[in-house]
C-alpha cells in the first residue's frame, strides 16, 4: 500500500531508466547510504569489522566482478582466487616499491594490472564455452598460485614466502598495517564498494551491458546484430578482473594484513565467490551483495548460535557449521535457482500490488 508506483509518474526516458524507479526504493537507498556513512563508522568495533563487515564489503566487490563475467556475459570462471591473488601481489609490489604514492592509486593500479591478466586468460573464451572455459580458467587459478609461490620476486624474497602489508595512510589515517583502526578500514572499503557498484550498475545498464547479455543469451544472434564477440568477451574479462583484482588488493592490504598465496587465494576462494553469485543471483548487482552477505554472515551467525547460544565445543560447531552451510546452498539451488535477487524481485512485485492483487 505504501510501497507502490501508482502516482509516481515518469515524464521522460531518463526518469524511466533510473536505477530505483520506485520512490520508496530510492528513499531506502539514500537511508542506507546515510547509515553506512554517518552511523556505522562511529559504532564499528574490531570484532564487527573483522568478522562481518570488512569481509562482506570486500567479497561484494569480488562477487560483482565475477557476476559481470559469469552472470552478465555468460563466461564461466573458476579463476577468481587467482585473479584476486594478482590484485594482492600487484598492490604489495606497488606499496613496497613506491611508498610515497597513495595507497588508493596503488589499489586502482592493482585492479588495472589484474584486468590485463584477466584479458590474457580470457583469450580462450573466444574459442571455447561453458565447462571447457571453466577448465581453462581453472588452469589460470593453479598457474597464478604456482607463479606467486615459485618466483620470490613477487614476495620480495621474504623468508616466510608471505607478503605483509606495510602501514599506509589516507588523509593521515592509517588504513593498512597493524596501526589501522576499524573505522578507517571500514571507510576505505566502503568507498571502493560504493564507487565500484555504481560503475558496475552503469556499465551493465548501457550498451556494453547489453552486448554482454546478448553474448550470454544467444551469441550467434548477437553477432548478426553487430556485436563483435572478441571485444565483448574481452571487455567482460577486463572489467570483471578489475573488480576482482581490487577485491584481492583490499583483502590482502586492508583485511588480512599478511597473506600466503595458496592459503589466502586458493581454489576455495574461487568457489566461495562463485557460490556467492549463484546464491545471490546471476546477472544482478543486488544479488552480488546478497550472496556475499549470505555466505559471510551465515557462518558467523551459526558459529555464535552453536558455541555462544548452545554451548557446544568449538570444533564440533565448526564441523556442523560447514555441513549446515553446504546443505543450505543445495536447498537454495533447488528451491530458488535464480538466487536471492529473484526472491527479492518477486517479493517486491507482490508488495507493489498488495493488498489488492487484482
Amino acid at each position: 500500500m505504501i510501497y507502490r508506483e501508482a502516482g509516481d509518474f515518469k515524464t521522460g526516458y531518463r526518469e524511466d531508466g533510473q536505477t530505483f524507479p520506485i520512490r520508496l526504493d530510492r528513499w531506502a537507498y539514500y537511508a542506507l547510504i546515510a547509515v553506512a556513512v554517518l552511523v556505522v563508522p562511529f559504532v564499528i568495533d574490531d570484532y564487527w569489522a573483522s568478522a562481518v563487515i570488512l569481509p562482506f564489503l570486500i567479497y561484494s566487490i569480488a562477487a560483482i566482478g565475477l557476476n559481470i563475467l559469469t552472470g552478465y556475459a555468460g563466461q564461466v570462471s573458476l579463476g577468481t582466487g587467482g585473479f584476486m591473488a594478482v590484485g594482492a601481489y600487484a598492490v604489495y609490489k606497488l606499496m613496497t616499491a613506491f611508498p610515497e604514492i597513495s595507497i588508493v592509486i596503488h589499489i586502482l593500479l592493482a585492479g588495472g594490472i589484474t584486468a590485463l591478466v584477466g584479458m590474457l586468460f580470457g583469450l580462450p573464451s573466444l574459442r571455447i564455452k561453458g565447462f571447457y572455459l571453466a577448465v581453462a580458467t581453472l588452469a589460470a587459478q593453479f598457474f597464478l598460485v604456482w607463479l606467486f609461490n615459485k618466483v620470490p620476486w613477487f614476495y620480495n624474497y621474504s623468508a616466510s614466502g608471505q607478503i605483509t602489508a606495510p602501514t599506509r595512510t589516507v588523509l593521515g589515517e592509517a588504513v593498512t598495517g597493524p596501526a589501522a583502526s576499524a573505522p578507517a578500514k571500514y571507510l576505505i572499503c566502503l568507498g571502493f564498494v560504493f564507487v565500484l557498484a555504481w560503475l558496475a550498475r552503469n556499465l551493465t545498464r548501457g550498451t556494453l551491458g547489453r552486448k554482454w547479455m546478448a553474448i550470454r543469451d544467444m551469441d550467434i544472434a548477437a553477432e548478426i546484430i553487430g556485436v563483435n564477440p572478441l571485444t565483448a568477451k574481452l571487455s567482460a574479462f577486463a572489467v570483471s578482473s578489475f573488480f576482482v583484482g581490487i577485491a584481492g588488493a583490499l583483502l590482502f592490504a586492508v583485511y588480512l594484513g599478511a597473506a600466503e598465496v595458496g592459503e589466502a587465494f586458493g581454489i576455495n576462494k574461487s568457489f566461495l565467490v562463485l557460490f556467492m553469485i549463484i546464491i545471490g543471483g546471476l546477472g544482478s548487482i543486488f544479488g552480488s551483495f546478497a550472496g556475499a552477505a549470505f555466505l559471510v554472515l551465515m557462518p558467523v551467525f551459526l558459529k555464535n548460535l552453536m558455541t555462544g547460544g548452545l554451548g557446544w565445543p568449538t570444533d564440533l560447531a565448526a564441523h556442523v557449521e560447514l555441513m549446515i552451510v553446504g546443505a543450505m546452498i543445495v536447498i537454495f539451488l533447488i528451491a530458488e535457482p535464480h538466487g536471492i535477487a529473484r526472491l527479492w524481485a518477486l517479493a517486491k512485485e507482490k508488495l507493489r500490488l498488495w493488498p489488492f492483487p487484482h
Binding site: 531508466g17 550498451t207 547479455m213 543469451d217 548478426i224 546484430i225
Partner: protein, 270 residues
C-alpha cells in the same frame, strides 16, 4: 497477368539494384547447397525466396547476411563488391535479419532486446558509459525514443518491460522483428516470419511487413512457405529447388511457370 500486375512489374524494374548476387555457389563438404544462383534485390521491393524444404533458401539468406561465405560467386551491395566479412561487420552495412527459430535474448526485457538492435548507432565511449554522463546518457535517451516509435509501430507497448522468456510465440516473433527494425536497416531479411502462426497472427505480421516496407521504405527479402502470403506480399519471387534457381519473376509469372509447378506438385515419372 492482370493489368495491375504488369504495371507493378514495370515500376519495380526501374528501381536501382540494392543487392546483386552473382553466380553464388555454396558447398558444405561435398554437398552443394546452392548451385550457381544469380538474382538481384532492388531498392524498396519485397523479394520472396520460396522453394520446397531443403531447397537452400535459408543457406541463401545466410549468404546474404554474411553468416556463410560462398565458395564461388560475388555479392554486390549498394554497387560495391562485398569481400569476406564477419557477421557483425555485415550488420554495420545496414543488413538486419530475423531467424527461423526465434533468436531473441531470453534473459533480457523486450525493451533491452530492441535497444540491442541499435547497438551500431550507439558510439559512447567506455568511460562515458561507466560514469553514465554525457554521450552515454544522451544516446540512451535518444535511442530509447527511436525504440519507442518501433514499439508503438508494432503495438507491443504493454510488454516493453517483460522478460522475453515469458512471452508467447507470436509476440516473440514480433519482438524479433522489432529488434531487426531498430537497426533501421536498408535490407531486412526475414526467415519464415510466419512459421507456426495462426491465420490471425499471419495477417498481423503481413500487415506489419507491408507497413515497414511502405513507411520506412525498407527493402525486404523473405523466406516463407505460405504461398498465399508470398503471392500477396511480394513484388518479385525467386524459386529454388535442390539448390538451383528454377524461377524468378513477379508472383503471377512464377505461378504460371511450369518448372515451379513441377517442383511443388511433382512430375509424373513414366
Amino acid at each position: 497477368m492482370s493489368e495491375a500486375a504488369v504495371l507493378d512489374a514495370a515500376i519495380v524494374d526501374t528501381r536501382p539494384v540494392l543487392m546483386d548476387l552473382k553466380n553464388i555457389t555454396l558447398r558444405f563438404g561435398g554437398v552443394e547447397a546452392i548451385k550457381n544462383i544469380s538474382f538481384d534485390i532492388r531498392e524498396g521491393e519485397i523479394r520472396a525466396i520460396i522453394g520446397p524444404n531443403g531447397a537452400g533458401k535459408s543457406s541463401m539468406l545466410n549468404v546474404i547476411s554474411g553468416f556463410y561465405i560462398p565458395q564461388e560467386g560475388e555479392v554486390w551491395f549498394r554497387g560495391e563488391k562485398r569481400g569476406p566479412m564477419k557477421p557483425y561487420q555485415v550488420a554495420r552495412l545496414g543488413i538486419a535479419r530475423t531467424f527461423q527459430n526465434i533468436a531473441l535474448f531470453e534473459g533480457m526485457s523486450v525493451l533491452d532486446n530492441i535497444m540491442t538492435g541499435r547497438l551500431n548507432r550507439m558510439k559512447a565511449g567506455f568511460l562515458s558509459q561507466a560514469i553514465w554522463w554525457g554521450a552515454a546518457e544522451r544516446e540512451e535517451i535518444e535511442n530509447r525514443a527511436a525504440v519507442e516509435r518501433i514499439i508503438d509501430f508494432l503495438e507491443i507497448q504493454n510488454i516493453r518491460k517483460t522478460p522475453v522468456g515469458r512471452l508467447p510465440y507470436g509476440l516473440k516473433k514480433r519482438v524479433e522483428l522489432a529488434r531487426a527494425l531498430a537497426a533501421e536497416p536498408q535490407l531486412l531479411l526475414l526467415d519464415e516470419p510466419m512459421a507456426g502462426m495462426n491465420v490471425e497472427e499471419k495477417e498481423d505480421m503481413s500487415r506489419f511487413i507491408l507497413d515497414v516496407n511502405d513507411e520506412f521504405g525498407t527493402t525486404i527479402a523473405l523466406i516463407e512457405h505460405d504461398m498465399g502470403v508470398v503471392m500477396d506480399l511480394s513484388d518479385r519471387v525467386v524459386v529454388m529447388d535442390y539448390g538451383r534457381k528454377i524461377g524468378d519473376g513477379t508472383p503471377a509469372e512464377v505461378r504460371a511457370s511450369q518448372a515451379v509447378i513441377d517442383a511443388y506438385l511433382g512430375v509424373a515419372h513414366d
